[in-house]
């Protein structure tokens, strides 16, 4: 690790915002240097309550996050936000617009907001979102809110990070069958029907209630369904109460242990997966071996399974990053 990085970590732990921001940029590079930095600051993490906010594109996630920040600040808690927007798979560029809705906290240095492009990750987050959350945690933020990209059915990576997942839906989006089928329904701990000022909120409520009824567990946390109007703030304090109840429930029931285990397991998987992918597609030597094996399979000199075994053997024979 360079002197520069060491200094940034020191400053971060003293609460320096610029150092935090620069470490986030480093984290996004996913380089060995970035990982060395995260290793160093990891012992200073684990204190924050991490809240995920997910839901379809345009459902009002950022607007709601803005109101959540306000509520948590009124309670005297410090807040970090990571807002992920999709990167173009073709150019790698991204227009990160979530911040537009959260502009009023600029003079409050206990609020730190960071935008991220998804950069090729498909689960609704970016590869480095975990690391940016760690950095906010080490910076000392009490509450960390992660806004996912506008999610459909497959973008469920948020449960790898968040202790509490707030799932937004809006009136008039899709029919009830769609709702029941969608895998994303299973990840919500608090359901919010946002834009309750629009027609169809009651119908939406009934649909959600029915869908949740179908896989009601006999005991444990019963996800509440709340109506809100994020633009005016109506119903937002109830959302905050529900988030806190869920957190209390996790702790009192002891379920927090399983919740953590699930998240750490997923994080570890992600890191291993990404390290392998990085090796295969970034390091020239491995890239060459990969290409060579593809060729051999193509020429039927070997089969894909043997080729994969050779690759994995090659990778584990090396040490370090």
């Amino acid at each position: 690790m360079t002197q520069d990085t060491r200094k940034l970590i020191k400053q971060l732990l003293k609460g320096n915002r610029r150092a935090a921001a620069r470490l986030m940029t480093l984290a996004e590079s996913m380089s060995p240097e970035a990982h060395a930095a995260i290793k160093q600051l990891y012992p200073h993490t684990g204190k924050a309550h991490i809240i995920g906010v997910t839901g379809p594109p345009g459902s009002g996630k950022s607007t709601l996050v803005d109101k959540l920040i306000e509520e948590f600040r009124a309670q005297g808690r410090t807040v970090g936000v990571v807002a992920v927007d999709p990167s173009s798979p073709f150019t790698g560029g991204a227009l990160l617009g979530d911040r537009i809705r959260m502009n009023r906290f600029a003079s409050d240095h206990d609020v730190f907001i960071r935008s991220m492009g998804s950069r090729g990750s498909l689960g609704g987050l970016a590869w480095a979102t975990h690391d940016v959350v760690h950095i906010l945690d080490a910076l000392g933020k009490d509450i960390i809110i992660v806004e996912t990209v506008g999610a459909g059915q497959a973008e469920v990576d948020i449960i790898q990070i968040a202790e509490t997942v707030v799932l937004l839906s809006v009136p008039g989006l899709g029919d009830d069958i769609q709702t029941i089928k969608a895998g994303i329904m299973e990840i919500g701990n608090v359901f919010v029907i946002n834009k309750a000022d629009l027609d169809g909120a009651d119908r939406r409520y009934a649909e959600l209630q029915m869908a949740l009824e179908l896989d009601r567990k006999p005991d444990g946390w019963q996800p509440p369904i709340l109506k809100a109007i994020a633009t005016t703030g109506e119903g937002v304090s109830e959302v905050v109460k529900a988030i806190q109840s869920h957190h209390d429930y996790l702790i009192e029931s002891g379920e927090i242990a399983q919740n953590r285990e699930r998240r750490y397991c997923a994080q570890l998987e992600t890191i291993v997966e990404h390290s392998f992918i990085r090796k295969l597609f970034v390091e020239p030597e491995e890239q060459a071996l990969f290409q060579q094996l593809v060729q051999e399979v193509n020429e039927r000199k070997t089969d894909p399974y043997t080729a994969a075994e050779r690759l994995i053997l090659h990778l584990i024979k090396q040490k370090g990053n």
Partner: protein, 133 residues
């Protein structure tokens, strides 16, 4: 997998009460299409909001768009707040309606380039590619 180790991140900001956002949006989209990450903060930003967003987002480039005529009042304040935050090394550029006479004092302030109406967006992309580090 595309993995640009250091992606260029650009903040596009509209300071003051100026409601002309077409140019800012056109530029933001062009930069996105050129592969940059563009943080667009929307209309009516105070200098403090702009400087703080630049800091938190750790951008390489701050792009100010202004057509209201208030640049001589707003830009010095923004430059001061960036400096206070240790962001002197950020590349600051601007565009919009900026009279010829103002360009020199603005450059002296540290604004590296100014792009007026009709500038092809490719020129802006090229400039950033060459000058952002």
């Amino acid at each position: 997998m595309t993995e640009a180790e250091q992606k260029i991140r650009v903040l596009i900001a509209k300071p003051g009460l100026d409601g002309h956002d077409r140019g800012a949006k056109v530029v933001a989209r062009a930069l996105r299409d050129a592969g940059f990450e563009v943080i667009y903060t929307g209309l009516r930003q105070t200098p403090e909001q702009i400087a703080e967003a630049a800091l938190q987002e750790d951008v390489t480039v701050v792009g100010l768009s202004i057509l209201s005529g208030a640049h001589m009042r707003l830009f010095p304040e923004i430059m001061k707040l960036l400096k206070e935050r240790g962001m002197d090394d950020t590349l600051v550029i601007a565009g919009g309606i900026i009279p010829e006479d103002d360009i020199k004092p603005l450059k002296k302030l540290g604004i590296k380039a100014i792009f007026g109406p009709g500038t092809p967006t490719t020129e802006i992309v090229e400039y950033i590619r060459t000058n952002a580090k």
